[in-house]
């Protein structure tokens, strides 16, 4: 019985999600009258200040996600602050779309608890041109709106313009993104390590950087599985049942 129940509900949930993913511009599954006009307004303002800067945009549960041209990233900060009236910087960060290394297998010390991610590279809302993206969220404290901005960065030489001169709060966020993803922020006053020691090498949040804790020490859950005393007893049982069932199955087919 417990095996049967997840299957229909599992099937239901992706069906709902597919329906919600299909219409990009309007939020059909959750009818909210407010977000759409603000998104239209925000996009019109961006278009007015930075023509042809927006490559793609998407509505993610009422949140506007805008993907802009790499060259427009530096100017976008000023536009966001003045034209969009977004005086508040929530965060600046990066994302690595590379498929995660094989998890739950040999690479991750047999960690069977780790979720298995798809092995092909797919991109999120508003798409991406390559592996790395920098994204930020700005908001307006007066107009109560905001948007997430994404920009593609080059994989070999990841670099974008810094936002520190417009939003001083971008300082630490950019330092974090730089050390975690190796994305350089041109014009940042002092790109130095924020969390990690100064001599640290590598970019820990990149997908090809292994989770060192699992490399040093195998997943403890594995020990539990190996140490199960019932296992050797259950094996002959299975074998016995299998041996006994073979002729009956064969008889059924005949």
């Amino acid at each position: 019985m417990p095996d049967e129940t997840p299957e229909p509900s599992d099937a239901d949930v992706p069906a709902v999600a597919e329906a919600s993913d299909a219409p990009v511009a309007d939020a059909a599954p959750e009818p909210e009258p407010e977000p759409d006009p603000t998104h239209v307004e925000l996009l019109a303002r961006i278009e007015g200040a930075l023509p042809d800067a927006v490559i793609e945009h998407a509505d993610v549960f009422g949140n506007l996600v805008v993907r802009i041209r790499p060259g427009a990233w530096g100017d976008f900060a000023g536009v966001a602050k003045s034209t969009l009236e977004c005086d508040y910087l929530s965060f600046v960060s990066a994302i690595d779309w590379a498929p995660a290394p094989k998890e739950g297998g040999d690479d991750a010390s047999g960690d069977t608890s780790s979720p298995v991610q798809p092995s092909e590279m797919t991109f999120g809302a508003a798409g991406s041109a390559g592996r790395f993206q920098v994204f930020a969220h700005v908001q307006s404290t007066a107009r109560h709106w905001g948007c997430t901005v994404k920009v593609d960065v080059d994989e070999a030489q990841p670099a974008v313009a810094s936002w520190v001169s417009v939003y001083p709060g971008a300082d630490w966020h950019e330092r974090e993104a730089w050390e975690m993803y190796g994305v350089r922020f041109d014009g940042h006053p002092s790109l130095r390590h924020l969390y990690l020691p100064a001599e640290f090498e590598g970019h820990p949040l990149r997908k090809d950087f292994p989770l060192l804790a699992r490399v040093v020490k195998p997943w403890p859950g594995l020990v539990d599985v190996e140490g199960m005393p019932a296992e050797p007893e259950s094996e002959p049982e299975v074998a016995a049942v299998g041996a006994g069932s073979e002729p009956t199955d064969g008889g059924g087919e005949e």
């Binding site: 969220h137 966020h173 975690m180 990690l196």
Partner: protein
């Protein structure tokens, strides 16, 4: 040599002895006049909840520049989330801001629910809101007491710890954990409220109102407290916003912005009648005052929620194995320390592909290099205390 060979013998001897006695002081003064002094505040300091190191360059008693060194508690949660399933992650994110753990869970669980198209039942939403507000009360009550400690008043700190314990008992009664409830499930809550909890909460809430009055008399009305906090550490609203300062810290700078009222509707806040408190001064006292009012407001909200608590289940129908469909979701909430947000990217697996954790204290503290310029060393401590950050919330 010529100075010692004065015409009168005895006075010269007296002068020399005085000079010797104050020689140490004289040397320090000379050093301060000529160069700056680098002082290390922390990593362990009583005004910080955790280990924050502050390297300050001093000219005498005045701070010329301050550089916070963070990362002593960096636990790499953004990386760890990529190796865990959704139900496991709520255990992790409990530990971000450990004073209001329950409030940390809410936006993450909400983001996963949004992606799955699951909605928690109304009763679960109300209980979540009650527990979020209780976290706020327990966090702020501790602050209201501890802020006194930072200006040298020991008594309020004991009151703060004592009164917080009543609220923590309530949280423990409902969830089983004082600090790390891990009570949220995707689609609802682990359990319903225990019998008698509602009436118990009502009586504790009345006590909290008394407690707020007490703090108003004892700390906010104290003349010494005024002189130590008024006009100290002023953050103008627009600068605070550009630094990403949020929550009570920003409202104390006159920015009338509260995600419970102004953000995307979440939990039961649209059903509630509450006031968003602001203060125009932006100084340490304003931050204390706003938190004091917000504690009272949270008490009123809990009482409203208890009155309107709907009946019904606390868990929606969700699959036994949580698989979140492909998509992205940004959920932000007004946590006790400020704006807390999760940008969850899912690729249809049992765990997220990427989780960007936007924690309040990180941005609240990033203003320190700007804010501490030109203040006196004793004020550094009161400013740090009034910004009220949790190191786990900075380092994640």
């Amino acid at each position: 040599m010529s100075t010692t060979d004065t015409p009168t013998g005895v006075p010269s001897f007296e002068l020399e002895r005085n000079a010797m006695r104050h020689l140490a002081d004289a040397q320090i003064n000379v050093e301060l006049d000529t160069g700056d002094m680098i002082l290390n505040l922390g990593p362990q300091h009583p005004a910080t909840h955790g280990t924050l190191r502050l390297v300050v360059r001093l000219d005498g008693e005045r701070v010329l520049a301050a550089d916070p060194v963070i990362g002593y508690m960096h636990r790499g949660y953004e990386k760890l989330t990529e190796f865990r399933t959704y139900p496991q992650i709520t255990t992790l994110i409990n530990r971000i801001d450990w004073l209001s753990s329950f409030a940390n869970e809410v936006p993450f669980v909400h983001a996963a629910e949004q992606l799955m198209g699951v909605e928690a039942p109304p009763r679960a939403n109300y209980i979540r809101t009650i527990l979020t507000e209780l976290s706020r009360i327990s966090t702020f009550i501790l602050f209201l007491g501890e802020m006194g400690l930072q200006v040298g008043a020991l008594t309020p700190a004991f009151y703060g710890f004592r009164d917080r314990e009543y609220v923590l008992n309530l949280i423990e009664g409902a969830t089983g954990g004082r600090f790390h409830p891990n009570f949220n499930r995707i689609g609802g809550l682990k359990e319903d409220l225990p019998w008698g909890w509602v009436s118990e909460t009502r009586s504790v809430m009345r006590m909290m109102l008394d407690s707020c009055d007490q703090f108003e008399d004892l700390v906010a009305g104290n003349e010494i407290f005024h002189s130590r906090t008024k006009g100290i550490g002023v953050i103008p609203g627009e600068i605070g916003a550009a630094y990403g300062v949020s929550g009570s810290n920003l409202r104390a700078s006159g920015v009338d912005w509260d995600l419970r009222r102004d953000g995307a509707p979440y939990l039961a806040y649209p059903d509630l009648d509450f006031k968003v408190w602001t203060h125009s001064d932006g100084d340490s006292f304003a931050r204390y005052w706003v938190r004091l009012q917000e504690t009272r407001e949270a008490v009123r909200m809990v009482l409203q929620l208890l009155d309107g608590l709907p009946a019904g289940p606390v868990m929606a129908k969700v699959p036994r194995i949580i698989k979140v469909p492909e998509g992205e979701s940004w959920v932000e909430t007004e946590n006790p320390l400020g704006q807390m947000g999760y940008y969850v990217v899912s690729k249809g697996a049992t765990g997220p592909f990427r989780v960007k954790i936007r924690s309040a204290s990180f941005s609240n503290v990033s203003i320190l290099p700007w804010l501490l310029q030109g203040v006196y060393v004793p004020d550094v401590v009161t400013i740090l205390a009034s910004l009220y950050f949790i190191l786990g919330d900075i380092d994640r």
